[in-house]
């Protein structure tokens, strides 16, 4: 779809095995268990998105984290081959358009990718997560505003104090220099 790129689809296995059993898909390819470098890259990217998140929200549809043009979404998944544990599907998409009309189609594509790996997700939930995650406005950063105002206030106070003391010195100097009339 125009302006949308699915970067990662990741589901850790239902059993207790290590990452060999977890499903990882990157840019159109399923990663094998041996592709450790790519899997490490996945974890690094997830960490980077969370660290730079403009917002990070959990709701009944799952979790959405937005960082620039990247949107990370986590929704519930279930294995088709009957394991008891609930799974989480983590999806990262790059979005280069402001609207959310892409949400349903992209969710359908991701549901199909997971279906091939015998994992089932509710694509309408994923679409809702995309929609909510992408359309939600970044909350106003009061802390940053406070810091900027405090820094500006401090800078103005220093400038005022410096100008005042410079003015005093100038006055004192002027007072010390004898005028031509006095010399005579």
């Amino acid at each position: 779809m125009m302006g949308i790129a699915t970067r990662w689809v990741y589901v850790e296995s239902a059993g207790d095995e290590e990452s060999g059993e977890s499903f990882a898909w990157q840019d159109g390819k399923v990663l094998s268990a041996a592709q450790n470098a790519e899997r490490e890259q996945l974890h690094r990217e997830l960490e980077d998105i969370v660290e730079r998140a403009e917002f990070d929200e959990r709701a009944e549809w799952g979790r959405a984290v937005r960082s620039g043009d990247r949107l990370l979404v986590e929704v519930e998944a279930t294995p088709m081959t009957g394991a008891a544990r609930r799974l989480t599907a983590t999806v990262v998409v790059s979005v280069a358009r402001p609207d959310t009309e892409w949400a349903s189609e992209t969710a359908g594509e991701i549901a199909a990718i997971l279906r091939d790996a015998e994992i089932s997700i509710a694509s309408d939930r994923l679409a809702q997560a995309f929609d909510e995650g992408w359309s939600r406005k970044t909350p106003f950063d009061w802390l940053r505003l406070t810091r900027v105002l405090a820094a500006a206030g401090a800078a103005l106070t220093i400038a005022w104090w410096w100008m005042r003391s410079a003015g005093r010195v100038r006055k004192r100097r002027r007072a010390k220099v004898p005028t031509s009339g006095e010399q005579e």
Partner: protein, 225 residues
């Protein structure tokens, strides 16, 4: 000259009090890394700190994408601590680079050890068995040595699911666990840099007990400096 003396004394006194207060406040705000293999209890412990206790049947499963909390305040047995930028990381081996990042920016490291791995009941589960603990300890020992971590706390969890506890009783069980942990402690930097906390995270009150032990260790360490 004489009128200056009280002014100097007041200024010096004020500066000393401010310095003491700032140090005291700073002393109780730390960065901590909570690490451990899958199902070792990282999310459960962090949730208990944040008042978001989740019973087993509603367990949302594994942590895949990390979760960051700007400020987490702990109070137990009259002690108070604040952890800043606390991150709940994944326990997969592919998340080791993310673990290293956490260690780099932390003053304290909690390494959660599943008692079932010590008991040998996880030997069929690759990535959660004794070998995983050895691998983790080897890597973390290197990171701890290279960074500014003050103390590493090994937190043995899931003791409620270790049959040896019922068989041996509390005291003997702890002795046995400590003996088992010895090689890992050495890998992590030796007993001078590593402390051990043993408990269960089965119920909220158990988790609070573990938290109180962790806090006692951290505050004790800070006071000893």
């Amino acid at each position: 000259m004489a009128p200056l003396v009280p002014w100097v004394a007041v200024t010096a006194g004020g500066a000393a009090v401010s310095w003491y207060l700032v140090r005291r406040l700073r002393r109780r705000k730390y960065r901590i890394a909570v690490l451990g293999a899958r199902y070792s209890g990282k999310t459960t412990l962090i949730n208990s700190w944040r008042g978001e206790w989740v019973e087993d049947e509603f367990d949302p499963g594994r942590t895949q994408a990390p979760q960051r909390y700007a400020k987490t305040k702990l109070t137990a047995e009259g002690l108070r601590l604040t952890f800043t930028n606390l991150t709940d990381v994944a326990g997969a081996i592919n998340a080791w680079p993310a673990w290293e990042d956490r260690v780099k920016e932390s003053r304290y490291v909690l390494y959660l050890v599943d008692a079932r791995a010590l008991a040998g009941s996880l030997r069929l589960f690759k990535g959660r068995d004794w070998h995983r603990l050895e691998d983790d300890a080897g890597l973390m020992g290197g990171w701890l040595g290279a960074n500014h971590v003050e103390l590493c706390l090994m937190v043995v969890t899931h003791t409620d699911e270790d049959a040896r506890l019922r068989k041996l009783g509390e005291e003997q069980y702890q002795e046995l666990v400590m003996t088992q942990l010895d090689p890992l402690i050495l890998k992590l930097g030796g007993p001078r840099k590593v402390r051990v906390v043993i408990g269960s995270l089965k119920r909220l009150q158990d988790a609070q007990g573990v938290t109180a032990q962790i806090m006692r260790e951290i505050i004790g360490w800070e006071k000893s400096k």
